[in-house]
């Protein structure tokens, strides 16, 4: 079966299917698949997408082994790294495994299995750096700028030391900024340093790895059976040497894991080339989600905006006031905030409500655009002269018939051009849904770019897809504006 493209497509379908499917933590008992939350965007060597579009990573290998030992199928759920703990507690997935360091803060909220890897922090600098040789000497220099990934143990450590610190959502950005000279040193977990910095000739490791800690799998406190199963499976893997094999395969075995020296190093991600076809195929998958999100959100916005406009123009004044408040609220706050409120805030308010990212995005974007749509309809309705009402009524029509046959069609002609304009704007605004881990076109780009490190090529391809879809809509909008304008002049 030498058909990597078909495979890539299946993986994509699998990701989309599971991105939209929350799973309760209680499902372990039934033998149904359980979900593990992890961020593909965080990248190698934990879990990332290989050049053929196939997911890879030492954690994926561990999951496959655990799956066999526990006899429970485990599926991946794409999830923002920084949101793994809240997502786990929300019940979006049963276990979180993503180089999740065992920190006192996390231990307060979730239960951890026994560790499957002992990590240490590695300092990296530019190859030509002369000012410091290791972490200690670096911290003695004033004015030095550090960076790391957000929500990591390294961030916690550096914040405690009070250094000048920038944080990024993934290691790739941190190392890219380091190479560009915008920052001076990056401290990150050794696996990331090995995966991203070691092979980069512009960068070098400074001193030995320090500050050891543990990676373990996080489980919700309400799910002790799963914790027990994972622990016994992990013991089995350690005893049989299976875990060591996996770590060795990924160049992660070192004297800290057990006091044994490993074999030779082999680099997994050097000199691999992504096929343009694979990338395009995956981007198209993201584009489909973006289109679906645009259509659904716009339909939702119209569905809410239209009745609101009717109330605003023809309703009694207390209701009119409510509509004004709705409009001002939803167009006054950032969509990004609104999305976080719907996705993370709403379940807090209504426990048991489990919105998947797609539905949450439709609600968030729909509410935001309902404010704009209702304003468009309001002003469109108000441009229809009162005389049109009187002409219709004096023919003997009732108000509903008059509205439906005479007023609404005229208002529609006024509303159509700005509506098309809004559709284009909404189409681009859907990129915000990546914030709540919906893998739409823009998020797909981020994942692919961070896995392949080809920011420019994939970025241009993504831009091209956006343009191909949005430019014709823009033309339609301007055409409508012109032709409607002509009518009015006569």
């Amino acid at each position: 079966m030498r058909s990597p493209n078909l495979y890539a497509f299946l993986v994509l379908a699998w990701m989309i299917a599971f991105a939209g499917q929350p799973a309760g933590a209680q499902e372990t008992a039934s033998g149904k698949p359980i979900l593990f939350g992890s961020d593909i965007e965080g990248g190698g060597p934990y879990l990332f997408i290989g050049p053929d579009g196939k997911p890879l990573g030492f954690e994926l290998d561990i999951v496959r082994a655990l799956e066999k030992r526990m006899e429970i199928p485990v599926r991946h759920l794409q999830y923002d790294f920084a949101s793994l703990v809240p997502g786990l507690l929300k019940g979006d997935f049963a276990m979180a495994m993503n180089g999740l360091e065992v920190t006192p803060e996390r231990k307060e909220k979730v239960r951890f299995t026994r560790p499957y890897y002992i990590y240490r922090q590695q300092l990296a600098a530019r190859a030509g750096e002369k000012r410091f040789e290791d972490l200690d000497s670096a911290m003695g220099i004033s004015g030095l700028r550090f960076a790391t990934m957000e929500a990591t143990a390294a961030e916690r450590f550096l914040r405690q030391k009070g250094v000048d610190l920038a944080t990024y959502p993934s290691p790739t950005e941190a190392y890219a900024e380091l190479a560009l000279g915008r920052i001076d040193a990056v401290l990150l977990d050794l696996p990331m340093a090995v995966f991203y910095a070691k092979k980069n000739p512009q960068l070098r490791f400074c001193g030995p790895p320090v500050e050891p800690g543990e990676y373990a799998i996080a489980v919700a406190p309400s799910n002790p059976e799963l914790l027990e199963k994972l622990n016994s499976a992990l013991i089995g893997m350690i005893d049989s040497g299976e875990l060591r094999q996996i770590l060795e395969k990924w160049d992660l075995w070192d004297e800290v894991q057990v006091s044994l020296a490993g074999g030779g190093l082999h680099d997994h991600s050097q000199s691999q080339k992504w096929s343009v076809f694979t990338i395009l195929q995956m981007l198209m998958g993201g584009a489909l989600i973006t289109i679906a999100l645009t259509v659904c959100s716009f339909a939702f916005a119209i569905l809410i905006g239209f009745p609101l406009a009717l109330l605003r123009v023809y309703g009694p004044s207390p209701l009119r006031l409510l509509v004004i408040i709705h409009v001002e609220f939803f167009r006054g706050i950032p969509v990004y905030l609104l999305l976080l409120l719907v996705y993370f805030g709403l379940p807090e308010l209504l426990p048991g409500l489990s919105l998947n990212p797609f539905v949450a995005s439709v609600i968030g974007l729909g509410l935001n655009y309902s404010a704009y749509e209702s304003e468009i309809y309001r002003s469109a309705l108000q441009t229809v002269p009162a005389g049109q009402w009187e002409a219709a009524l004096s023919l003997g029509m009732d108000r509903i018939t008059a509205f439906r046959r005479i007023i609404a069609p005229q208002a529609m002609r006024v509303a159509l051009p700005p509506m098309t304009g809004d559709l284009v704007a909404l189409f681009k605004d859907t990129s915000i849904a990546g914030a709540i881990s919906l893998v739409e076109l823009n998020k797909q780009y981020q994942i692919l770019a961070k896995s392949s490190l080809q920011f420019l090529e994939i970025g241009l391809m993504t831009a091209l897809i956006y343009l191909v879809l949005s430019v014709p809509l823009g033309w339609l909008s301007r055409h409508l504006e012109k032709s409607m304008g002509k009518d009015e002049n006569n």
Partner: protein, 256 residues
Amino acid sequence: MDLITSKGSRKAIELREVWCRRGQRSVIQGVNFSVAGGETVALIGPSGGGKSTLLRCLNGLTEFASGEISVCGRRLLPNGKTPFADLRYVRTSLGMIFQDYRLFPHKSVLANVMEGPISVQGKTHDEARALAEGLIRRVGLADFAGQSPGSLSGGQQQRVAIARALAMKPTGLLCDEITAALDPQLKSEVLGLLAQLREEGLTILMVTHEIGFARKSADRIVLLDGGKIIEDGPPEKVLNHSESERTREFLQQVIG
């Protein structure tokens, strides 16, 4: 063509002690008058005298405060209390024509005329089309049926508006300065049509400044000033032999 069935001498419109307020002021102050079926009455008077208001009260576009109004045998109730069925009957019995035409700009000339029969009287598309085509021919616009109202001259638009009202098979028309916005030769197109409709027995109550037309074609002239009727009689009497100082003053201004 059998467009109109006249109700002979039965009262088509009757007002008794009608008062009507707009804003704070009483705009109609105890008006009594009537129009017989088939009669043509010209309503004249100075600007702000309440002519439009009176006309609008007659088909319920404006509410009146007290008094009695009956139109084609149906009572209208004060303060907007008239049941919709009666209101619809009154509105379809007396078509209303406005100074600014008020055609539906999103519909063709033909569709404008078909609209009422379809959406009010429930006629089928084909019935409405046959009726509308006849009326459009009747007002001399057969060549324009497919056009949008915006591409027609003012006089043509006003004739379409009349055809649209006639499509409801009314017994009468309420016309509010329907030629005021038109050039002289366009005026005569519309006034000529009105005179023909009068010949066919339609009841017509028209607000107008066309004293010449009123003299020739109206059965009666009514002068409304300050919300009160100060003159009501045959044209000859009102225009030439009025006893009222106010009437003579007004006519002086209009005719010059």
